[in-house]
């Protein structure tokens, strides 16, 4: 009964063409389309205008269900441990995830209707009717699938760090990740925090560069604490 109340409230927000920032918990509707990638393993047709479909981007941490988030971590093959100790990342601890979510200053989640997630070949003749369907289908974080996520930890004064930005593989390379990062930075700058950092691995570096991140202007070195593991020999540099 509480859940239904929240969903109805969110619908109202959407009809009002939501405001963002300033701490208002809101959901925003965005349209994305699949781009034609040059080297794609999936059979994408060569139609230049791929149909748009809607995704919902939310800054409300209450929309995130820890269990679905854990599944998202698994789908994206993402681990909460930055320095991998094992070949396969272990499943995320739900209790810890809940704690982490409740103490993250910014939590951004992206939802999408299930049929678009698995949609490989874009519709042709049915494009107009599916668009209308998309317009009429109400927002529902409980019904739609969690497809993207990002969060930031901050001291709400000077600094912030972005962690765990991920989008499920079938919807990658469509600008969703960039949207998530942009949303996070926008919320942070609205709170007057401009010192935003992001820890990224080798393959994420290009992504963050495209989002407007760069190496530290003060040339600081990123260092992480390495728990002394007697079985592993300590490397020099």
């Amino acid at each position: 009964m509480v859940v239904m109340g929240v969903a109805a409230q969110k619908q109202l927000h959407l009809e009002k063409h939501v405001l963002e920032g300033f701490g208002s918990k809101s959901m925003e509707l965005k349209w994305v389309s699949r781009r034609i990638s040059k080297s794609s393993q999936l059979e994408k047709t060569m139609k230049p205008l791929s149909p748009l479909f809607p995704i919902y981007i939310s800054t409300d941490p209450r929309h995130v269900d820890p269990h679905r988030l854990r599944d998202l971590f698994a789908d994206c093959n993402y681990s909460t441990q930055k320095i991998p100790t094992r070949a396969e990342p272990e499943p995320v601890d739900i209790h810890k995830l809940r704690i982490a979510l409740s103490h993250s200053a910014v939590v951004v989640s992206v939802f999408c209707n299930l049929r678009h997630v698995n949609d490989v070949v874009p519709y042709h003749g049915n494009s107009s009717s599916s668009l209308i369907e998309d317009f009429l289908t109400p927002v529902s974080p409980s019904r739609d699938q969690l497809v993207g996520f990002g969060r930031a930890i901050s001291d709400c004064g000077l600094t912030a760090s972005i962690y765990d930005v991920m989008v499920i593989p079938s919807l990658q390379r469509m600008g969703i990740g960039k949207m998530i990062v942009k949303k996070i930075t926008r919320v942070l700058t609205n709170r007057d925090i401009y010192d935003i950092s992001a820890l990224c691995s080798e393959n994420e570096r290009l992504f963050f560069k495209a989002c407007g991140f760069g190496n530290d202007s003060l040339a600081s070195t990123t260092m992480m604490y390495r728990r002394s593991d007697p079985s592993v020999t300590q490397e020099g540099e």
Binding site: L199, E202, T221, Y225
Partner: protein
């Protein structure tokens, strides 16, 4: 939102995790309309103890039955000690030739005066930052470790002189990641192992909470200092990037 496999008993408490209200307030709202205040408080007390008992038996039951589908909802967060217990102890004690005793006190309680901190930052030569932001940052940091020096003159007055001589703070999501910022020690107290002690205590407190990823951004002249404390530069190719709006 909440997991669907809650048993009937614990579902009555299911509103708690996301509502984030202490349970006593919730039950008062429930009872306020028809009962007078004294009755409501006894009702809340009974309700609260009942809820705790339910949680206890739930956890025993779920352990015995090895049925992991039963979700045990922990009592609200004011029962858990989420924040690390603040420590305060004497790190070093020195007696000077004229009899004054100087103690260096380590504290992780975060009780720092912003003006003292500003003065200390000036001493080490850091750029000035707005005081309100500093205060907010201190308040919202997970752990703020500080070193104060207390000098007691041998006279019977016992006037103590307390000065802030070092600080380190860490922000965290309380579960997975932590970043250490703003490590500084008064130049006249440097070279005594105080910075090392600060960081070591900080790391120990974080590891006790099972926070696996501890990061920091080190200036070139202190990279070696942190390396000796167990930090590794750019491990596995992980680097920190910073946001520049007009790239």
């Amino acid at each position: 939102m909440l997991t669907l496999n809650l048993s009937a008993i614990s579902s009555s408490f299911s509103v708690v995790p996301y509502a984030n209200y202490p349970l006593s307030i919730q039950t008062q709202l429930l009872f306020r309309s028809n009962l007078n205040y004294s009755f409501a408080t006894t009702a809340t007390r009974k309700f609260k103890s009942f809820q705790l008992k339910a949680g206890f038996w739930e956890s025993i039951k779920s352990g015995l039955m090895k049925n992991n589908s039963m979700q045990v909802i922990d009592p609200p967060l004011d029962e858990e000690d989420e924040e690390p217990l603040p420590q305060e102890f004497v790190l070093v004690e020195k007696t000077e030739p004229d009899g004054t005793i100087e103690q260096i006190i380590f504290s992780s309680g975060g009780d720092i005066d912003v003006y003292d901190l500003q003065a200390l930052c000036d001493k080490v030569g850091w750029p000035r930052r707005p005081l309100s932001k500093l205060a907010a940052a201190l308040k919202n940091s997970y752990i703020v470790a500080s070193l104060h020096s207390i000098r007691k003159s041998p006279g019977s007055e016992g006037n103590e002189q307390k000065r802030l001589i070092g600080m380190a703070r860490a922000t965290s999501d309380h579960a997975f990641n932590a970043t250490i910022w703003d490590v500084l020690v008064d130049p006249s107290y440097q070279g005594q192992g105080l910075g090392k002690a600060l960081i070591e205590k900080l790391i120990r407190a974080l590891l006790q909470r099972d926070i696996g990823n501890i990061t920091l951004f080190a200036d070139s002249q202190v990279v070696e200092f942190y390396r000796n404390l167990g930090f590794e530069a750019d491990p596995e190719g992980i680097k920190g990037m910073f946001w520049y709006p007009n790239h």
